[in-house]
Amino acid sequence: MKRFLLVVSLLAVGIALASAQTLAKPAKQLNIVLIVKDMTNPFFVDMKAGGAAAAKKYGVNFTCLSPEKSTVDQQIKIMEDMIQKKVDAIVIAPIDSNGIISGVERANAAKIPVMACNTMINGGDIIGFAGVDEVSSGKSLGDYFVKKLNGKGNIVILEGTTGASSAQAYLQGVHQAIDKYPDIKVLASTTAKYNREMGMTVMEDLLTRFPTIDAALCMNDTMALGAKEAVQEAHRKVMIGGINALPETLEAVKKGEIEVTVNASGYLQGYAATELTCKYLLTGVKPPAVTKLGDPLAVSAANLEQFLQSR
């Protein structure tokens, strides 16, 4: 209740001073915590940097925590600890959209706002979600090859696990990009179940089936790395694209073995989610339920160095 009054009064002051463009300073220092999925993954190291930058801009104290083992139970434990510490807001990239709900409910009971980042939360009260959706990642991959092939060529698509929501979203994104170009022919679109072994065997068979393949669009890096082995073994020239920007893929891009990988910037996602939360704490303006961020970056040999330096 106190916080509500504080927010209302701040809002009133804010409106009153709006013409003077003065930002109202809160009475006490605010604390925000960002909980990521796995600190051993460079993607989340980026996310932390983004969150820290946004918090700094708004003068809010920022902490980033990560479960030791990447499990949702440990994330909930961290949330409980943060509730005990009475932080002002929690930004979280949940490992599981459903598994995290009990943690969110506990934060709700303690009246601590929760913001979802990177992955949606399917229950409890959250103030909003900010992330790059999978459709735009797929579209970014498709756009890259449309440009690279000058709108003309033979491609194959290695889909994710049939039935998985991400697999559908990626595929939808790719088609948004390529369907406008009738000269881009999809020779085959088939599943390799997000799996490296299958990426290799499926690509082997596709290479047998089609004498010329210009590009293979893989809906994750793991399949792309498997497909790469098949292409090398067959001594063929096929441009391979993946999604996730895994360190292993980036090395392959550097060596010219893989053409491109899409990075759904962790930095941007961390920045946006933290910024929206800061604004909420300072002004009481609730962020939109879903904030979709811009197109993810396609990382190829052309911008690899620049990308590696930026993270």
């Binding site: 051993t40 990447s70 790395l225 082995e229 067959a234």
Partner: protein, 321 residues
Amino acid sequence: MKPKMLERQKSGALPARQISTIYRVLVMAFFVLLAVVFVPRFASPGNLLNLVRNISLLCLMGCGMALSMLIGGLDLSIGSVAALSTVLGATIISGGNIFLGVAATLLMGGAMGLLNGFMIARFKLPDFIMTFSMMYIARGLALTYTQGQAIYNLPDAFTWIGKGSLGPVPMPIVFAFLALLVLLFVLRRTTFGRGIYAVGSSHKAAQYTGISVANKQMIVYLASGILAALVGLVYIARLNSANADLGQSWPLDAIAVCVIGGMSFAGGEGNILGLLIGGTVMGIIGNCINLLGVPSRFQDFCVGFVIIVAVAADHYGKKRQ
């Protein structure tokens, strides 16, 4: 119990067994013929090479499963054991010490297999439960160890065992050939091998004739673990990377290979050369699904359907005798 005994006696007689093998070969030939006639590019040299390589990997997977099925058990942990032993081994291999890494991988696979065998033989845990639990345990350890990251950039001298070839013969084929040869010898020509069939037919009867059931079970699961690690090594060499998600589909693939090849879930029945038939049918399904461009959503259906047709035809043939 009585009819089963009778049936076993009948199929144990040589002519009947040969007829049933011929029938199985015919079923396989039928699938090969279908593929050659109806699947474009199936018979091209490049495709046949890929196919035979994949068939040998399937046969290699089937070897361990065949042993555990012959003794009346089942090893569901082969994929996870392969994942755990290869991520550990790959760490050493990528550090440059190939021999030590390969040895560590096989040792780890053997240790997990022996643990399976020990719990099954000494604590009388059902094979299904023990290996099913081991499937989770080994996968969990592998994931924890790697933290979900792949171990990659393996030295060329190592990847040769998966990508290279001995003369004109690709290495996976060499491994499968050797494994089948050794198993064939052990099962047909040694007392140990015949003991496995005896234990598989009836634990009690085998025990009464003085065969140590526990001993056989331990050795079989030990071998199954080592074979799983071996398949794992060939795979990570081909993929040029080791990851904790290796081999998730292996147990069921291997069971399909064994069942199509004529192994019985009841144990004590089956010819190790049947693996060639099972491997060929399973290899052809996977290959043709991609060559024909079967839609993703429909692929699983096709695999299940072909397995049923193959096994049903086999059983129909047996009944006719």
